[in-house]
């Protein structure tokens, strides 16, 4: 049961062929079996989940997530369940209310199964900066699941949750989805209530779902945005799709490129108009992102009511960098001007194309403890930060395996045009025939 999709489970629950307690028990059994190897969770809420599953009342029209076990990234406040942000500093912090997104999901029937591991205060690309130890990639436990929403991704890929919610500042949903063979969605900036989520960079942060298939991601996306989408037909004829040359040039592995090209060929065969384009140098977008993230994080953490002496090395480095940037005369204005230009370029580009397609990451999941220099670690966000800086919606979906590890493809759409993104993603998913089947070794 823990390997099923939301849609499949919903059908079985609606027909009373299974009950929520059985679904929850199946996922908890999976956690018992795999959590030692995966470390997806900081807190598992087993007893509360069982009680909640028992308390759910069946009705003729069940809400879309009724009885579905979910994980929430541990920077999302949950009433009466500790919320640590991956830091020992907050190890005993008990929120007095749940985040808006947690309440919305609960109202849609979802059952909280646990709080997922993350890089400390969501700063990192591997979960290795978490004070609770790194999570492991269910496809190969020697490797990272990505970050900062790595625990959320690992939980779903391993079957330790049916879906999860993470947060994305520069790619923290999409990069873990790419590494773990999942679908992740970063909604259009500002379309999901973020109250009760610990911020990292308020002008960039967005929560979103990590799921096993495009259909499940569409279900959760509609719940958290409160916006209905029409997802049929899953046709791509007439769609204008841009392929940024610089994004494909960033990929060194020919096997990854071949998979991405195959997906593009399917779209072309379906009648999509494909055009290669030049886009603003990704090196500029990553630099802009690092500066904005560091300066905003400094502002956020300076206001936080806890001591900062015990923050981790990665976070302290970024805060020092943020403080240094803010001291440079007129630099904040330069940064804003560059960002404004980038947004305008993206808006103009999106008037000509329905979608931008490219790889999600520059390579496959790297090994735990690889000790990459920060500059190389930052490259894992190279292809995702454009959507973050411009507020565009973006989705990552798996398109196949290279060396037995998943490869992700990213779609970006115009603001508030997620429907187009989901339709094309469903088409690619069907054409590429990717099946989620990680082995926990």
């Amino acid at each position: 049961m823990f390997r099923q999709t939301i849609a499949a489970l919903h059908g079985l629950l609606q027909k009373k062929e299974i009950c929520p307690t059985e679904v929850v028990a199946s996922v908890l059994d999976c956690i018992d079996e795999k959590e030692e190897a995966i470390n997806a969770y900081i807190t598992v809420t087993a007893i509360a989940a069982e009680e909640r599953a028992k308390s759910l009342h069946w009705s003729l029209a069940l809400p879309p997530l009724w009885g579905i076990p979910m994980a929430l990234k541990d920077n999302i406040d949950t009433l009466g369940v500790r919320t640590t942000c991956g830091s020992h500093i907050l190890a005993t912090r008990m929120p007095e209310t749940s985040a808006a997104i947690a309440r919305t999901l609960e109202n849609a029937g979802a059952v909280l199964i646990g709080k997922a591991n993350l890089d400390q205060f969501a700063v990192g690309s591997s979960t290795e900066t978490s004070d609770y130890g790194p999570s492991r990639n269910p496809w190969d436990t020697k490797r990272v699941p990505g970050g900062s929403s790595g625990g959320s991704a690992a939980a779903v890929a391993a079957g330790e949750a049916i879906f999860s919610i993470g947060t994305d500042t520069g790619g923290s949903l999409r990069q873990p989805a790419s590494y773990c063979g999942l679908v992740a969605v970063k909604p259009t900036f500002g379309t999901v209530d973020r109250s009760g989520i610990f911020p990292l960079a308020p002008s960039l942060d967005m929560p979103g779902p990590l799921c096993r298939c495009v259909g499940d991601a569409a279900i959760v996306h509609q719940v958290i945005t409160g916006k209905r989408m029409v997802l049929e037909p899953q046709a791509v004829a007439g769609l204008k799709i841009a392929l940024p040359r610089q994004y494909f040039n960033a990929i060194a592995d020919p096997a990854i490129l071949a998979l991405l090209r195959r997906a593009v060929d399917h779209l072309a065969a379906g009648g999509a108009e494909i055009e290669e384009i030049d886009i603003l140098d990704p090196e500029v977008t990553i630099a802009l992102y690092q500066i904005i993230c560091a300066t905003e994080a400094k502002g956020v953490l300076m206001k936080a009511p806890f001591p900062r002496e015990d923050l981790g090395e990665e976070l302290k480095s970024r805060l020092l960098f943020g403080a240094h940037c803010l001291e440079r005369p007129s630099f904040p204005a330069t940064v804003q001007k560059t960002r404004d230009r980038l947004v305008e370029t993206a808006v103009q580009l999106m008037k000509r194309y329905d979608l931008i397609l490219g790889p999600t990451t520059t390579g496959l999941a790297f090994c735990v403890g690889e000790d990459l220099p920060p500059s190389e670690m930052h490259l894992s966000d190279l292809l995702t930060v454009l959507a973050s800086l411009t507020g565009l919606p973006a989705l990552s979906l798996p398109v196949g395996l290279v060396d037995s590890l998943p490869v992700g493809l990213q779609l970006m759409a115009p603001h508030l045009r997620e429907e187009t993104m989901f339709r094309a993603a469903a088409y690619i998913e069907k054409a590429m025939g990717f099946v989620l089947r990680p082995l926990v070794n």
Partner: protein
């Protein structure tokens, strides 16, 4: 950035740096500092 600057910024943020840490963080900042030049160059273009 010299030692005094690094210590001052750390103090402003709310932590202190030992002598060993000063070198370590200076090395780490070297990875970040080129981003400033990249954005300054990009920002030099016309509006």
């Amino acid at each position: 950035m010299d030692d005094a600057d690094l210590r001052r910024l750390a103090k402003e943020i709310g932590f202190s740096l030992s002598d060993e840490e000063i070198d370590h963080y200076r090395q780490r900042l070297l990875y970040f500092l080129p981003y400033i030049e990249t954005v300054e160059k990009a920002g030099e273009g016309k509006d």
